[in-house]
Structure formats: C-alpha cells, structure tokens
C-alpha cells in the first residue's frame, strides 16, 4: 500500500530525514518510536504533504501512485489521514461545520452527493456514540480553547468520520487519560481491515497494549535504526534507545 524508498527531507535547508525505507502493506499496523527530534513528525508531515518540508531524495508510492506529486487535499482524497501531534486552532468555524466541510470534500472526490446538515448530524451522532463521546465540543470553534486531550480526541473523531485507508497518528496518545486512550485505540482498531493500514507514532508502550502493532520501528537521527515485532516496543520501554547504535536494513 505504502512504499517509502530512501526518503530524504529537509526543512529550512536542514536535512532531517536521511534515507528512510519503509513498506506498509494493506492490513498492517506499524508503530514508530524514537527519541525526541529524531524525525517522526517530519516523516508524518512529509506523508501528508506539508509544503515547508522539502523532499531532497527518494520516493513514496501509495497504491501505485507517486504520493509526493499530490497536493495535500488530493492525498486526503486518496485516503491518507494525519492526526496531528499539535492540532491547529481555527477562528470562528465550529467543529460541526468543519467536519461537514471535510466529509463533503471527501464525498465530492468519490462522486457522492453532499450531506445536508441533517444527514450529517445523524452520521455524526452515530460516530460519537461509537467512540463514546458527547457532542459538547461540536458547536465550539475547531480546537479553540480545547484542552490538550480534547484536541487529540478531536483528531480521532475526524479520523472516525473520514474513515481513511491509511491513518498516520502522530503521538495521538500523548496527554490522554486511560479512557480516552482506550477510545483512541478502539477507533484505530475499528478501521483495521484487510484494506486499511495505520502508522502510529508513539513514545509509549501503553498504547501498543491496545493497538497491537504488526511491526515496530525505531527512528533515530532521520533513519530507521531498528525494526522488529511488537516485542521491540517492550524492549525499548525497559532499555531506552541508547542500545540501538547501528541502523539495521529492513
């Protein structure tokens, strides 16, 4: 589904990703761990198409297409979703209005009719029910004055509504209480299917108890330094990152 080859990326002329190779097949969940500043968010932003990150070398193929040649909205249309580490606040636009704009953008590229406000609310209620949240945040401007945990939950709600094929979650578990964490895990697990895949960036093994990954990768200084199964996360939790020295081939 996703094939990253020798990916190099820079921001403001500073090289950050220095040759990433990673293949994600449909049906798989991959976790990425690694020290602060190692490039995890950079990788996530490059996949989503952030214009500030310049790809200097390498390629990313998504379902046979050149992902890097697509605009961010085209990637979204093709089923790529990024849950931001730091979700953005938006003036004036309510969460409900925003979600409806997003779902209708998606429906437009699927050649489906727009949802009117009533149908939309019905669909939304359903999603909220499934992830066990109330709609108290729906009439507030997007992320405006939301607590850290509320912002993260909001990312998950968007994911649940948009039902992406490839979900990239950047530290969505940070700052969540245990109930919210379970809800996040539930939402990701619900999307799990032979056709979908997820890439979960996290610092904590805790999340991986609920979203059991097929593969765990360690990113260090812009490269994948080690890859393994789910037991690698446990090992990292007890030993830290220092023991990983040599970048390992995938």
């Amino acid at each position: 589904m996703l094939e990253i080859k020798n990916l190099h990326a820079a921001v403001d002329g500073v090289a950050i990703l220095k040759g990433i190779d990673l293949t994600i097949n449909a049906g798989e969940v991959h976790a990425i761990m690694g020290p602060n500043g190692s490039g995890k968010s950079t990788l996530a932003q490059v996949l989503a198409g952030h214009p500030a990150y310049e790809v200097t070398e390498g390629s990313v193929t998504y379902e046979g297409r050149d992902l890097l040649g697509l605009e961010p909205e085209e990637r979204a249309c093709a089923g790529v979703f990024l849950a931001f580490q730091y979700p953005v606040e938006i003036h004036g636009i309510t969460n409900a209005y925003f979600l409806r704009a997003a779902i209708n953008a998606k429906r437009k590229c699927q050649d489906l009719e727009e949802l009117d406000p009533i149908d939309f609310m019905e669909m939304l209620e359903e999603k909220l029910d499934v992830i066990g949240w109330t709609d108290s945040l729906m009439e507030r401007p997007v992320n405006h004055g939301f607590s850290g945990g509320e912002k993260k939950r909001n990312e998950i709600l968007q994911m649940a509504v948009l039902e992406p094929k490839l979900a990239v979650l950047d530290e969505t578990d940070s700052g969540l209480d245990i109930d919210a964490l379970k809800a996040v895990a539930d939402a990701v697990n619900k999307l799990r299917s032979p056709d979908n895949a997820s890439l979960v960036v996290t610092h904590y093994q805790r999340l991986l108890n609920f979203i059991v990954p097929d593969f765990v990768h360690v990113l260090a200084r812009g490269r994948i330094a080690k890859s393994g199964g789910k037991e690698l996360a446990l090992e990292l939790e007890s030993k830290g990152y220092d023991w990983i020295k040599e970048p390992a081939g995938v």
């Binding site: 909205e73 003036h91 636009i93 953008a105």
Partner: protein, 448 residues
C-alpha cells in the same frame, strides 16, 4: 483643488440657503442647534491627517467634491425595489428614507406597537415634541467631529424612535436609508434619535444601501439613549455604492443597569469612516460593540471607537474583525477611557485583521486611558495573512486550497455574524460575505 477657507465658506453659504429654504419652518431650538453647529464647522473645517484621530483617513475626496444637498431630490422608487431590502421580521415597522428624506409611501409602519413612536424626526420635531428637544444633539458633540458638526448644521430628517417604559418590542424596527438616482454628487445628513425608556427593550436595524454607482455622500449620525435597566441592540449595515462616501457617528448614552449592543457591518462605499462613541453613564451598565468589515478593490473603512466608563461597575466588550482583499485598507482605533472613580470596570477589546493580498493594509491602535485603579482592561490585536498552518490542516482534511482559504476567512466573518440575533439578517449577511469570498477565490484562481 479649492483652498480650505473657501470650502468652509461654501458650506456656510449652503447652510444659509438651506436654513432659508429646505430647512426652514423648524422650531427655534432646532434652528439654534443648527446655527451653533455651522459656526463650529466653519471654525475647524474638514479634518486633516495631521489630526491624530484622522491620521489614517484622508477625506480629500469629500473636500474636493461639490456636493449638493440631497433633500430636494425626489427620485421615484417602486415598493418592489424597496422590498428586497426589508426584513420579513418586522416588515410592518420599517421606516424608509430616500436620499435622506422620509418617504411615507415606501414606509410600512402598521405594526409599530401602541405607545411606541417611530417616525420622521422632522415631523416629530415640528409637532413640538418635548422628547426630541430634550435629547436631540445632546450626546453627539459637534466639537468631537467636523462631520457631526455638519450633520447637526444640516439636520433636517431622519428617524425618531421612542420606546416607552416597560415596553418590549419583539421584532426589530427597521430604518432603511436608500440613495437612488443621484445625477450629480449629493449629500444626505440622516439624523436619528433612539430613546429606549426605563425597563424597555428593543432592537433596531439601521441600513444604508446605495442603489446607484455614482458619487454621493451619506453623513449619518445616530444618537441612542438607553435609560435605566433598558436594553437596545442596534444593528448597522453599510452597503453604500462603490463610488460613495459614508461618514457616520453612532453615539450611545447609557443609564444605570442598561445594556446596549451595537453590531456594525461594513461592506460598501469607497470611503467609510464610522465613529462609535459609547458612554456608560450609570452604574452596572453593559455595552458590547461588534464590528465586521469585509472590503476589496480600493475600499477604505475606518472604525474609530471610544468607550467611556464614567461610572463604576460597568462592563464593555469590543470585538472587531476585518477582512481586507486587493488594495483595500482598514483602520481600527479602540479608545477606552476609564474616568476617576469608575472602579470595578471590566473591559475587553479584540481586533483581528486578515490581509488576503499583498496590497491590503490594516492599522490597529488600542488607546487605553485609565484614571481609576481597580479596573480590568485587556486588549489584543492580530494582523496578518491567512495562517499557513491552519490552511495546511484543512487541506489534509481534503479541503481544496482556495476553499480552505475561504473557510478560514469565513471564520473571521462568522465570529461577528454570530452575534446577530435576527436570523434573517444574519443569513442575508452571511450570504453577502460568501459571495465576496467566492468572487475573491475566482479572481485568485483566474490570476494563477
């Protein structure tokens, strides 16, 4: 360009002619107010950008054009043409003014509740109403602005609204000022007085709409008196023609425990300057000022606001957003004066300006003058282009770049439009904002 003293002389001469002809037959006290005002204007003339209060707004286009008084012009307009500008809610309490003069034929006042007075200021003043005499021109000072001086000097018609004690009016009273078929540059000085008496509540919609593309000038003054424990929500919509100039003062005066809200939307005219002066003259009074400007081309809108906390325990909120496209220009001044002894004042001011193009410009200046020690005054301003982070965020949710830009811009507008409690008015303005956004997006797509 004519020299300044000669321009003043011309206005004085216009005044003399006016007071003999079109403006004659008014009570003596009315005439006295006018005469004092023209000598005030003749002493100062038009403001210049050397005056701190006029630093960012050049009124040369008013000074250099010879405007004839619009009062005499009586263009014909059908009810049908007027109707599209009348809100369904309160359609039968709508006063229509055509080129500054009250039009009985175009107005619809059947729904005005018993005891409530809403009619032509000229008619009411001539009928010898003590109420008008007690309040008219007592709040908007001719020394504050040369345009208020001109308004008072050429005072002839406008709306007088009086809501008696304990009366609550559900539907808004509409004041519709239309300018039509100005074959030559004309000026109208609509003058309004709204008095909401003790424990009464009302909302008023004051709209200025241009039905012509040519050069004309509207110089409006509205005085609003909100008595003890009364409530007034005043909406003001400025949609003058593209070559028009609009100068205005909205002056409010509040007594104890009263509440006044002004929501002002500026969309039209080439040049607009709106002075808003709110005086909190009684304990426990509350005042909210909301403003939205959305302009393009070479339009210029200047909001000059002053909130005076004259008594303790008053709250004021001020929230102005501006959306500037092309080479348009916005100015916001937020002056807050807390008088000695006005303790426990709580005041908050926010001014956000969105610049949609490289040529657009906005200036924002808070001015806090605080002479009491136990007060809470906060202010904040933002100025800049669309937030790139927010833009990317929306794009990652599948929203195409131009649509995302518009959505973010709309957010600025809707923050203010949401304050409008009349659904129909809100929807109508929402529509106008969207049309402008779509036009802007079209222009950008075409320019690429």
């Amino acid at each position: 360009m004519t020299k300044e003293p000669e321009i003043r002389d011309e206005y004085v001469a216009d005044y003399e002619a006016f007071s003999r002809n079109g403006g004659s037959g008014v009570p003596q006290w009315f005439e006295d107010l006018r005469r004092a005002a023209i000598s005030q204007f003749s002493a100062t003339g038009f403001p210049t950008t050397r005056d701190e209060r006029w630093r960012f707004t050049n009124v040369a286009r008013l000074k250099d054009t010879k405007f004839a008084l619009a009062n005499g012009e009586r263009p014909t307009l059908s009810l049908g043409e007027v109707k599209q500008h009348v809100l369904g809610a309160g359609a039968d309490q709508c006063l229509v003014f055509l080129n500054g003069r009250y039009s009985k034929e175009l107005s619809s006042i059947g729904g005005i509740p018993q005891g409530v007075l809403a009619g032509s200021l000229r008619d009411v003043a001539n009928s010898g109403s003590k109420r008008v005499e007690r309040h008219l021109a007592k709040y908007a000072k001719t020394s504050d602005s040369p345009f208020t001086a001109l308004s008072t000097a050429f005072m002839s018609d406008g709306a007088f609204v009086y809501v008696p004690q304990n009366t609550i009016i559900g539907e808004p009273i509409q004041l519709l000022f239309l300018t039509a078929s100005a074959g030559r540059p004309v000026v109208a000085h609509p003058r309004n007085l709204i008095v909401v008496d003790r424990n009464a509540a009302a909302s008023v919609v004051e709209s200025h709409i241009g039905l012509v593309d040519g050069t004309y000038w509207t110089n409006a003054v509205t005085e609003a008196v909100v008595q003890e424990n009364a409530r007034l929500h005043l909406y003001r919509v400025q949609r003058e023609g593209g070559e028009a100039s609009h100068t205005a003062t909205t002056q409010s005066h509040q007594r104890r425990d009263s509440s006044f809200a002004l929501t002002t939307i500026e969309l039209g005219s080439a040049l607009s300057r709106h002075d808003i002066n709110a005086v909190l003259a009684g304990q426990g009074a509350e005042c909210s000022l909301y403003g939205l400007t959305q302009i393009q081309g070479r339009q210029h809108v200047d909001h000059h606001t002053t909130i005076e906390h004259a008594r303790p325990h008053c709250n004021s909120w001020e929230f102005f957003n501006g959306i500037y496209d092309d080479d348009s220009r916005g100015v916001f001044t937020g002056r807050i004066v807390v008088h000695p002894g006005a303790q426990q004042t709580d005041s908050k001011q926010t001014n956000n300006n969105l610049l949609l193009s490289k040529g657009a410009r906005a200036d924002s200046q808070p001015q806090l003058e605080i002479y009491a020690d136990d007060v809470k005054c906060t202010h904040g301003a933002t100025l800049g282009p669309i937030d790139e982070k927010a833009l990317f965020y929306l794009q990652t949710r599948g929203i195409e770049a131009e649509a995302a830009r518009n959505l973010l811009t709309y957010g600025f507008g809707v923050e203010i439009l949401n304050r409008i409690e009349i659904a129909e008015l809100r929807d109508q303005l929402d529509q106008l904002v969207h049309v402008r956004l779509d036009e802007g997006a079209e222009r950008r797509r075409a320019g690429k």
